[in-house]
């Protein structure tokens, strides 16, 4: 069969046998919206967006499932088709948290907040990590209006975080089926599929067991193909869309040496991807999820160190490090042991062989996944007998007691370890994609691995350092004399499979679970250090008496804090740390009871620290709750009989409660206006109705109360009030500020929440600009004059640590608590 012609929208186009109408249209540059179709997967026909009209064909077939045929006459964009698609899309959007598409402020919001807010769970486009990549959003942009006014459903029980690496938020799922189809394609027997029927239908493994309990290999292909953000990479999702082309390299973490693609953003490796969707190129859980986490680990070494005469490790760089290694080898000629690994690049191994020769040292090469101290028995005996005065260890292969047998120690490593404090010399090594080099293929031939990202600090490929050392010994850089045959893998070697048992557990003497704690959920071993840390976790602290989820991402905690409860005043806040090593974060006191000795907080999950707090349950303890801090609201400014508008958004809905209660008790007329993106994000309505004269509910999509936000309410009715206090996110308060009426003597306040450290006016982290003055939110605030705050600066300061915050986003935190 040969190419043939058909007519699409009046245009004669050519198609090949086997093409669908959609493919023929795409080839001719005619756009037909489609979501479930995927060029590498067989036609599925679920989203129903790609419907077309074809002469002599009944109804409106989907172009993705209809084979193109000679002489066909196709129309893709009639008015009827547009209506049909718009309504199908509306049905789809009603099953997807899409209130942002009904919000009048969306354009402003997305200009101001160029990246989505990093919240615990996605509740709308604005808090969805997938926003920059979303296929559904791509179709809905400029093509979507709510005509039938269908409410959006959102269900907290549809959020699953109990599996390693993959966050699942089925509220976002449109059941396009790409995930299980790609799973089927790669693994033949798919681990996941749709389970249940009707509205209970969702992507899951059989009987809704945990994915980690079943066939799932965590190859991550489903995440890469998910168009909506239902399936996301827990660690890497907030980096957003890559900003440069994918780079290819080789994974050295096990002997299989798979080629893989790296997703690069801001010069960082933010994820990996299989070369193709074929089963030959599939990645294992380590290649997919652990590889990038190792590179970005907070435990990486960046600075070289040399032990001084006084026994202190002094930072040292480049040449100084190489010089010192040369000295140590020179001084300990014939009495040095070099511990390397066959998992290193060929260039490093060759250099170590050269060193062995030049300095008369003993070289031992361990397998890359060798456990600590697993030296050959004769060498081990020699070390224990103190035969070696100097040990140079690449990686974390030797324990402190063993290293201590030598007089001098040098360590080259990519990540911190406990033994490094003993080192007379410490090299920070580049690793994985930071490092180009040669590896052995299964047959002993060579594979080149390319470097994909630049190095930070003193990190260098070890082979570079070693070449400098050898240069001092008079060897030229090609080291040709030390070429050696890479060993072919032994006969009968089975290429590692994707099974957990086959995956590497260690790399360069480090436990992989130290870099990706989610591996523990797959039964990977825990390092002794991690065991010790877990055991040392403090049990003392402030008990959580009650805990409930108010709305997605909003947790209410009632905490035993009798002293604080005695002194708390409206508007004050406290600093909370979930664990002794957590970040210090300020949270407004949402309620308290001096007699019963408790305080309440509404915690909005916006990052790692708040997620850690959100994951706690009643009965758990918070390591630190310090407060009350901040200047309370001066209630005397509000006279009985005067009127106050309290505008609350997000956590502010909780924060305005004590203000309303106190003001109402003083005879002030209190009107509360609360805003949320959609009905499912509202909370506290009954409590607020009980302490206010009027409660105005506003939703951005109009699903409850009036459509709009607090700013609109202020614009309409703000002039009626003697005072306006707005509490919410920076965007909301900024909008309110712009909407303020001209009214002489009106009190206009907001409560600010900048990044804060000590909360007592010492560090200066929380500085804000108000009316040209620099003030500290912790002691001068939190209340400032709404019309004078520089919200732009506040927003910028809050985003100053964005990348670090993303890197620190929670990995597995023991199953987030959603209900």
């Amino acid at each position: 069969m040969s190419a043939f012609k058909l007519t699409i929208d009046g245009q004669v186009v050519e198609a090949e046998p086997g093409m669908t109408v959609l493919q023929a249209a795409q080839r001719a540059g005619i756009f037909i919206p489609s979501l479930c179709d995927h060029k590498e997967l067989s036609p599925y026909g679920a989203c129903r967006l790609c419907v077309v009209e074809i002469d002599k064909v009944r109804g409106t077939p989907t172009s993705c499932t209809t084979p193109a045929a000679e002489g066909m006459v196709v129309r893709t964009n009639t008015e009827q088709l547009q209506t049909q698609r718009r309504r199908t899309l509306e049905l789809m959007m009603s099953g997807h948290p899409s209130p942002c598409f009904s919000c009048d402020s969306r354009a402003d919001c997305e200009v101001e907040r160029k990246t989505p807010t990093r919240s615990g769970v996605a509740t709308r486009c604005g808090t969805c990590s997938n926003r920059p990549l979303c296929g559904l959003r791509g179709i809905a942009m400029g093509n979507f209006e709510r005509e039938m006014d269908l409410p959006i459903s959102y269900d907290l029980s549809k959020i699953e975080t109990n599996d390693p690496f993959i966050d699942k938020n089925h509220n976002l799922c449109v059941l396009c089926g790409r995930c299980f189809r790609v799973c089927q394609k790669i693994h033949n027997k798919p681990a996941i599929n749709i389970v249940n029927r009707g509205k209970r239908a969702k992507i899951a493994v059989e009987f809704e067991k945990q994915w980690s309990a079943e066939e799932c290999k965590f190859c991550g292909a489903c995440i890469d193909e998910c168009p909506t953000g239902c399936l996301t990479d827990r660690w890497g999702k907030w980096f957003g869309a890559p900003d440069s082309e994918d780079k290819e390299t080789v994974c050295p973490l096990c002997k299989k040496h798979c080629r893989l693609k790296l997703k690069i953003k801001d010069g960082k490796v933010v994820g990996t991807k299989a070369l193709s969707l074929s089963s030959d190129d599939v990645l294992c859980a380590v290649g997919k999820f652990v590889f990038p986490q190792i590179l970005n680990s907070a435990g990486r070494l960046t600075i070289g160190r040399i032990m001084s005469e006084r026994g202190e490790q002094i930072p040292a760089h480049g040449e100084a490090l190489a010089d010192r290694l040369f000295e140590l080898l020179e001084e300990n000629r014939g009495k040095s042991l070099i511990v390397g690994t066959s998992g290193s690049y060929y260039e490093t191994r060759k250099a170590l062989r050269a060193m062995e020769k030049v300095f008369g040292a003993k070289l031992v090469e361990l397998p890359s996944d060798a456990a600590q101290d697993s030296l050959p028995s004769d060498v081990l005996a020699d070390v224990e007998a103190g035969k070696y005065d100097f040990i140079f260890c690449v990686g974390n292969y030797l324990s402190a007691p063993l290293l201590k047998k030598a007089k001098k120690i040098a360590v080259a490593d990519f990540a911190k370890s406990e033994v490094q404090e003993l080192a007379d010399l410490l090299f920070p090594m580049a690793v994985l994609a930071e490092n180009a080099g040669t590896l052995a293929a299964c047959d002993g031939s060579k594979i080149a691995a390319e470097a994909a990202v630049a190095n930070v600090g003193d990190r260098r490929p070890l082979s570079g350092y070693l070449a400098d050392v050898l240069k001092k010994a008079g060897l030229n850089s090609n080291l040709r004399d030390f070429d050696f045959e890479l060993e072919a893998l032994p006969a009968g070697f089975k290429s590692p499979t994707l099974d957990r048992a086959d995956l590497p557990k260690m790399y360069l003497g480090h436990y992989l679970s130290d870099f990706a704690p989610d591996l523990l959920l797959l039964g990977f071993p825990k390092s002794p250090e991690a065991e010790r840390r877990a055991a040392a976790k403090a049990e003392s602290g402030f008990e959580i008496l009650e805990k409930r989820v108010l709305a997605p991402n909003f947790h209410e905690l009632k905490v035993a804090a009798p002293d604080m409860a005695k002194h708390a005043k409206p508007g004050q806040f406290a600093i909370i740390m979930a664990n002794a090593d957590s970040e210090r974060s300020p949270f407004t006191l949402a309620d308290w009871n001096a007699e019963e000795g408790w305080v309440k907080f509404v915690i909005e999950e916006l990052g790692r620290s708040s997620a850690e707090i959100g994951a706690l349950k009643a009965g758990d303890k918070l390591a630190v709750v310090s407060g009350p801090l901040g200047t309370p609201l001066d209630l005397n400014r509000f006279k009985a009989g005067s009127s106050v508008l309290l505008a609350g958004g997000c956590y502010g809905i909780g924060a305005i409660y004590p203000l309303a209660r106190e003001l109402k008790a003083r005879g002030v007329k209190v009107v509360c206006a609360i805003e949320a993106s959609s009905a499912y994000m509202l909370y506290n309505r009954e409590a607020l109705a009980g302490v206010s004269d009027e409660l105005a509910v506003l939703t951005r999509d109009g699903s409850a109360g009036k459509k709009g936000g607090c700013a609109g309410f202020i614009r309409d009715r703000g002039a009626d009030f003697d005072a306006i206090i707005a509490i919410g996110c920076v965007f909301m308060m900024g909008q309110c500020a712009k909407a303020l009426p001209e009214r002489e003597g009106q009190i206009k306040l907001c409560a600010l929440n900048p990044i804060m450290v000590d909360g007592t006016g010492m560090c200066g982290a929380c500085r804000v600009s108000v009316g040209g003055q620099t003030l500290f939110a912790c002691v001068d605030g939190p209340f400032f004059e709404l019309d004078k705050v520089d919200f732009k600066e506040l927003s910028a300061r809050r985003n100053a640590y964005k990348l670090i915050e993303i890197e620190a986003m929670p990995r597995h935190i023991g199953g987030r608590c959603h209900s």
Binding site: P43, Y44, G45, A46, C47, R48, V51, G59, T60, T62, T65, T66, P67, Q84, R87, T88, L91, M92, S94, G95, E147, M148, D149, L150, P151, S153, V174, L175, G177, N193, I194, V195, N196, R197, G198, K199, R200, A201
Partner: protein, 618 residues
């Protein structure tokens, strides 16, 4: 070609002994429906009584299947030697001693319990079966053996012309068999109504070593039980139909996809397949090289498996979800081989058509809808049951003459035909000849043949909600319009029946329904809005009453009705108080009772319980 030549003679003698033997023959209607009505207990009672009377050796006791008079179950048929058989209805165990001593031992029919006599003329004043009001207008082709033979007897089936159609087919060219079926005008009885002969022609045209015939016995419509009755009552008619179809298209393998909720049907099918295998009809090369085997696949209760691509997926062992066509099953079906799927009733009709010839079948029915169709009558109708009538029979005749009109003397309001995919028809449609074209034009479908009758007490919004609730939970979830559309329709109907509806909701329902019809992937989603659209078409006033007046005209929507006690009529019998689940209805014996509006959940239990009409429903 007479494969069963030898067998046929012995079968005939077995049948003669059964139908007119020297012993008194007792038949108990023991299909699933009969058993539910107490047939098993009757069997035990009859055996016991035989022993008591010492007549066990003179009695020939058999189970048979469903003869279709569901309202009259359990049924017992007694035939004394040389006399016509008498059908007794609503037989309870305490009736057995009389029936046994009078009719069985004494040869005297018990006229007061008799429903009909299996004779041409009245027998002892008992109406002949064919004159029975429910039977008179029927023409039983598919149901020819149901309730007549012992379904576990291969000989009974064979003696009544069984496998003659297959033998005739085997003597013809496959293409001629297809032509014969085309000529009969038979259309798929599963619901779509596509020409069976043409469908076979497509599968015949596909070239493949392996081809499949699938019998779709996944009867899932609420209120439909035609296929179950046929499988339980005459399993060989379906197997024979499959063999004919297999021969016609060149298939070598067959599957019967049957719901696991039909254990008796499965048991009977298993036995029938074994019998056919033993008789050398299956799993053996027959003259001409035809060699066919049949396997049973039990479904697990997903409504969407009635859709053929889902059904095939289910047999293949993967999740049952429809896939787009093309490719059609005739080209690439089960395990990617050419496949033909027919419904139980279609196949049962085929065996009859091939035996008696296309002409006699085509002589029945209307212009484009030939032959007969079975219907299950259910709901608020006097005579519930299974019937078979020529297509084109007046709807009014079916409801009023065969079904006897509404039960309890209530006024007829509507009949839902075609299950959840069908629609409602009203009294105005009584003159409509029931066939594919006419029902389609009226906004409904024949579907698989369910007819659920609703009376003045049925709220049509509630009815639409019931069916949409069904399709909502049975939607496979694959395509957006069906998954989301059913959810929103159900929610909107719930809103309306709760008294919170707005007039805009009617427009919304229409828009969603239209989108579902236009855009859904399979028949489930495309037809799911039919109950809404037809109730809106014929009963929009009821919707409006719910929305504007906040009233349910049928007083069926619990959130819109209030119950109180009519002091004049209340006798203080305490029945309402005892029936009330929440303690809202209360009072002292012999004193006027009352209903506490705070506690009342408007369930209507008191209304049902009161024998004096003293509960006011408003």
């Amino acid at each position: 070609m007479e494969i069963l030549k030898d067998l046929r003679e012995s079968a005939k003698s077995v049948w003669r002994e059964f139908s007119d033997g020297s012993k008194t023959r007792i038949l108990v209607g023991a299909a699933t429906c009969g058993r539910a009505a107490g047939a098993s207990a009757l069997m035990d009672e009859i055996k016991k009584e035989c022993e008591n009377l010492g007549i066990s050796d003179k009695v020939d006791l058999h189970e048979t299947a469903c003869i279709g008079l569901c309202y009259a179950e359990p049924l017992v048929e007694i035939k004394s030697p040389g006399a016509p058989s008498v059908l007794y209805s609503k037989v309870s165990p305490k009736d057995i001693p009389v029936l046994m001593s009078e009719h069985v031992a004494g040869g005297r029919p018990v006229v007061s319990k008799a429903e009909a006599a299996m004779s041409d003329e009245p027998y002892e004043g008992i109406t002949p079966f064919k004159e029975h009001p429910m039977i008179k207008l029927q023409h039983r082709i598919v149901l020819r053996n149901c309730g007549v033979i012992d379904p576990s007897s291969f000989e009974h089936y064979v003696a009544r012309g069984g496998y003659e159609g297959f033998e005739r087919a085997l003597s013809m060219k496959p293409e001629d068999v297809i032509e014969e079926v085309k000529a009969s005008g038979l259309r798929g009885r599963g619901g779509a109504g596509f020409s069976t002969g043409m469908k076979w022609g497509f599968a015949r045209a596909s070239q493949s070593k392996d081809k499949y015939i699938i019998c779709n016995a996944d009867e899932g419509d609420p209120g439909a039980f035609m296929d179950r009755s046929v499988l339980e009552g005459d399993p060989h008619s379906v197997i024979e139909g499959m063999m004919i179809a297999a021969y016609a298209i060149g298939a070598n393998r067959g599957y019967i996809y049957v719901r696991s909720e039909y254990p008796l049907a499965i048991e009977r099918l298993k036995l029938a397949i074994e019998q056919a295998e033993r008789a050398g009809l299956l799993k053996r090369e027959l003259p001409g090289g035809f060699n066919f085997e049949i396997k049973i696949k039990k479904g697990s209760g997903a409504f969407v498996c009635g859709e053929e691509t889902s059904l095939m997926a289910s047999i293949e062992g993967v999740r049952a979800m429809p896939r787009p066509k093309p490719p059609f099953p005739a080209v690439s079906g089960l395990f990617k081989k050419p496949t033909n799927i027919n419904n139980v009733e279609t196949l049962a009709a085929v065996s009859s058509i091939m035996r008696d010839g296309a002409a006699s079948y085509a002589a029945l029915g209307s212009e484009k809808s030939k032959g007969t169709k079975t219907f299950s009558l259910a709901g608020k109708i006097e005579r519930t049951g299974l019937i078979e009538v020529p297509l084109g029979t007046r709807l009014g005749d079916i409801i009023e003459k065969i079904g006897g009109g509404c039960s309890d003397g209530k006024a007829f309001k509507a009949v839902q035909t075609g299950g959840p995919s069908g629609g409602c028809l009203t009294k105005e449609h009584f003159d409509l000849p029931v066939d594919y074209e006419n029902l389609g034009a009226a906004g409904s479908i024949i579907g698989s043949g369910g007819m659920v009758v609703m009376n003045e007490d049925s709220c049509m919004v509630e009815v639409a909600k019931y069916f949409v609730n069904f399709t909502e939970s049975e939607s496979c979830g694959k395509c957006v319009p069906c998954r989301m559309g059913t959810q929103h329709c159900h929610r909107l109907l719930e809103k309306i029946t709760s008294g919170e509806g707005e007039m805009e909701d009617i427009e919304r329902l229409k828009k969603i329904a239209f989108t579902m019809k236009q855009s859904s992937l399979c028949g489930l989603g495309q037809t799911a809005p039919n109950p809404i659209l037809t109730t809106l078409r014929y009963f929009e006033d009821e919707y409006v009453a719910h929305i504007k007046d906040k009233k349910c005209p049928a007083k069926a929507c619990s959130k819109m009705v209030h119950f109180s006690v009519d002091a004049e009529k209340c006798r203080g019998c305490t029945m309402c108080a005892r029936a009330c689940p929440t303690g809202a209805a209360s009072g002292s014996p012999k004193k006027v009772h009352s209903i506490d509006g705070e506690k009342c959940i408007s369930c209507g239990a008191c209304y049902q319980a009161c024998r004096f009409g003293a509960i006011i429903r408003a």
